[in-house]
Symmetry: C2
Subunit: 514 residues, 2 copies
């Protein structure tokens, strides 16, 4: 089925058809906020001095076929995954053991852990944690059998594209149905008959999580009481801002919650924790409204997720400042750490202790088994064992990818290059890498992408499905709110994933279920 | 009242306040489609090869105070104005007398009239006409008395900005109310208390007119019957496209009507009238869907309104082609002609025959009087009389402006420059100009504008209110649909209107009633 679907998908386009689709999508994107700020490199110096220009987010012209069985399973498992990562985050002792092993190969993890220890020493004042997660998968194809769902990674911080992804779904759905009654925007194709992408309520789900935290925070802890707000901590000059604004718009308009955006480099200027108040409320003073003060119920991090964002000790001071406050953090430092690749590897290691079952001890074993089914086998390389065997043997290496634990720690190493690569680095650094069995996506999937500079590229692609979930839990791991909803399909030119030359497209996509 | 309002409006802004407002508006504009394509001059050659970039439409940071009495009167009179222009358009004999007098000074009017005569000779097949009108006004201020409403012009073709103007109203309303419960986006000002701009349903009104025409067209006149559509005839490379897309989106999503956009230079390629069908249906063949054919119920012109759009006889052929078809035209050639400045002058001429009363013979005389109240006195200069007296006397000239009848025929001539200007051109050309008594807008109105390149300008401004109306009528002038709704406030730097150096801002604005 998977093979035959792609042998004739997407339909070919005449020049007039492609021109129509590209023009329609370009205009639709700007009309509906499916937009990004252009990369500075695309705009010559001195042209866009006030940073007003925008362009379409990179999108595929067509939705990509995706196996319904995998999509449904991913959605069904999301609240289970939410709870699993809440439980892991609450097990500081276990988390600490895994993390401390990484400290000498991963500065970033080391600094995050130090941040946690510093706040722990003083004592946390906020028992609640909020997670806005995205679990990323591929549909793993084995000739002759049903495609299965395999997890690529689990994101516990700054899970992005919920806002734009919902828009891409609307775009493709509208194209499939337009004009009303006589749909001719796409050339005819049997997959288009009575078929539109499934609903995508990512914005509602993610905003719903933030609203649940805002409500759970309760009354102001200040005297006199202050008005409450949610704070989006963002990167200065964020290009993907319209993705974030989709959430703040929903929070403001539907939940009637004040939301402010604060660049991470302004945290120490515009927020404070009154030293006289042992509840440690986080107070935000909007610079545009002298004399106003809001108490922050929820800090939503769309920054501080990557090492290169911590430019100086001031950034670590700011992170500690947020962490020690009474605001609910999305995420806490511990929750951020639970998302590191090493944790996924430990959970997915086919040999050794069954951590997954321990974390899910109260769950239906059938559900634990289904969750485990989504793991691609992953191996530790810190000492001799199955991982090293598979990695160093050129034959078995062919079925694997080597991923750096460290964010921004370099590119993945694929297949035949693995043995030589490992031998080229000191053995003591091997524990900084995770060996993962390759997932086989449909080999002949194709799509056409419209880049954000307007270039149109057609070619073989690999798609990753992300499913959004949100959970609010207390210090015992008990969930006060656990929800899933909304998805992302990100589609890349196949060459991108082979570790070689980037083919230059990674696009937002949507789904046609088959 | 008017004076005191502006003495303290808009509130001053600190740098942080201005930065906050500008950033918020820039981002809001792109998120919500309050956008334009940037002028090619703003983008260096070779940068935006695929024309994907967009920027915010020029907007004011604050809504402008506007007298409620004038706003309500403009809305109350709109359906009366709709009917007046429908009635004028149906009186071909009267219209012809006025127009024929302009033929030797205005090529464009001459060619439009010729187009009408050509189709008349063959015989019109469509008895219905659609108007999407915008009547533009200023609030005329006389010290010590209530401001009065004075018409600047009446637009019968391509009345624009309905889509974007509705968005500016939403933008200003949201700023006034944000964050929810604790509005601090603007500095405090007494005008902001419990006050937001009035509803702006321009999109619903204009789309409603198009939908009424689409329905009134009835069944397909083709054999076999074809699916029906509305055709937006547009300029190639239109920069104000998002204004137009707001209407087509509403037509598609709410009225479920197929809409296509056709650049005027493609009319003769992509549409045809089958010679075998005496009903002359206009058939559109979408180039992106070979084999598809739609019958056009309604041709909505967002092109062909200005002389420079008719680059060759091919354009006039295309205009005749549309005009002779069975599609309902918005507008017909005659309706377009009814909007020329000379017609307004004839209606507003204080001396001579009372054409207004004749056209409104069935109406309540009080309503006729209220309509007449909106005219600034206007004078013919074709022969000796009151107009020439006022224009040539330096003292009375000071209270007037000289406007060219011809679109794109040059700038307005103001006050003291009028006598010398008239003497510098041949007397036979004087009839190409209309003398109009100056309207006095509030002299000390101020606002702050964000241009589409991000520059922020503060200064004295002049605002024009436009009110939208739509009417569908038959060849006897009887209205099948007559509606008003939605408005535009366009605000310019004061210098712009003084005929001198353009101060560089003309912005979309909204209204705070006082």
């Amino acid at each position: 089925m998977t093979d035959s679907i792609f042998s004739e998908y997407p339909p070919g386009l005449s020049q007039a058809q492609q021109e129509y689709l590209v023009t329609t999508i370009k205009d639709w994107a700007i009309q509906n906020g499916l937009a990004v700020r252009p990369p500075p490199a695309a705009i010559p110096d001195g042209t866009d001095l006030h940073r007003v220009l925008a362009t379409n987010a990179p999108v595929t012209l067509f939705p990509s076929p995706f196996p319904a069985v995998c999509f449904e399973e991913a959605k069904a498992l999301q609240t289970v995954y939410n709870q699993l990562y809440a439980t892991i985050t609450c097990n500081e002792e276990w988390l600490g053991r895994v993390i401390e092993d990484l400290i000498d190969v991963d500065d970033f993890v080391a600094n995050l852990w130090k941040t946690h220890l510093e706040v722990k020493k003083e004592g946390y004042v906020q028992p609640l944690s909020l997670g806005l997660f995205r679990s990323d998968y591929m549909a793993h194809v084995t000739p002759g059998s049903t495609p299965s769902l395999k997890q690529v990674e689990f994101n516990t911080i700054s899970s992005s594209f919920g806002g734009l992804s919902a828009l891409v779904r609307t775009l493709h759905a509208e194209l499939l149905m337009s004009p009303p009654g006589f749909p001719i925007s796409y050339p005819p194709h049997h997959l288009f008959e009575s078929n539109i992408p499934p609903e995508n309520n990512a914005v509602e789900t993610l905003s719903g999580g933030l609203a649940a935290a805002h409500t759970a925070y309760g009354m102001s802890k200040s005297t006199p009481a202050l008005p409450l707000c949610v704070l989006f901590v963002v990167q200065d000059g964020e290009r993907n801002i319209f993705d974030q604004l989709a959430l703040s718009k929903h929070l403001t308009q539907v939940h009637k919650i004040p939301v402010f955006r604060l660049p991470s480099n302004r945290i120490l200027n515009d927020t404070l924790i009154p030293s006289s108040n042992s509840s440690r409320p986080l107070i935000y003073h909007p610079p545009h409204s002298p004399g106003s003060a809001f108490e922050v119920t929820t800090v939503y991090l769309r920054a501080y997720y990557a090492p290169d964002e911590y430019k100086s000790s001031k950034d670590w001071t700011a992170r500690v400042h947020l962490e020690r406050s009474a605001a609910i953090k999305c995420p806490t430092v511990l929750n951020q750490l639970s998302g590191c690749k090493k944790i996924q590897q430990v959970l997915a290691e086919p040999t050794g202790p069954d951590h997954l079952s321990s974390f899910m001890s109260g769950s239906d074993p059938a559900v634990v088994a289904r969750l485990r089914e989504t793991f691609a086998p992953q191996y530790d390389l810190s000492s001799d064992g199955r991982g090293r065997e598979l990695a160093l043997n050129p034959e078995t290496a062919m079925k694997h990818v080597l991923k750096p634990q460290r964010e921004g720690g370099g590119n993945n190493i694929y297949k035949s290059e693995i043995p030589d690569f490992l031998r080229s680095i000191p053995e003591k650094d091997w524990k900084g890498w995770v060996l993962m069995e390759l997932i086989n996506p449909a080999p002949n999937a194709e799509n056409v992408a419209l880049r954000n500079d307007g270039e149109v590229l057609r070619g073989k692609v690999i798609s990753e499905l992300g499913v959004y979930g949100t959970i609010l839990w207390d210090s015992t791991g008990k969930a006060l709110h656990n929800d899933q909803g909304g998805w992302l399909l990100r589609t890349k030119g196949q060459e991108v994933n082979e570790g070689g030359v980037a083919a230059g497209f990674s696009s937002l996509d949507s789904i046609l279920l088959y």
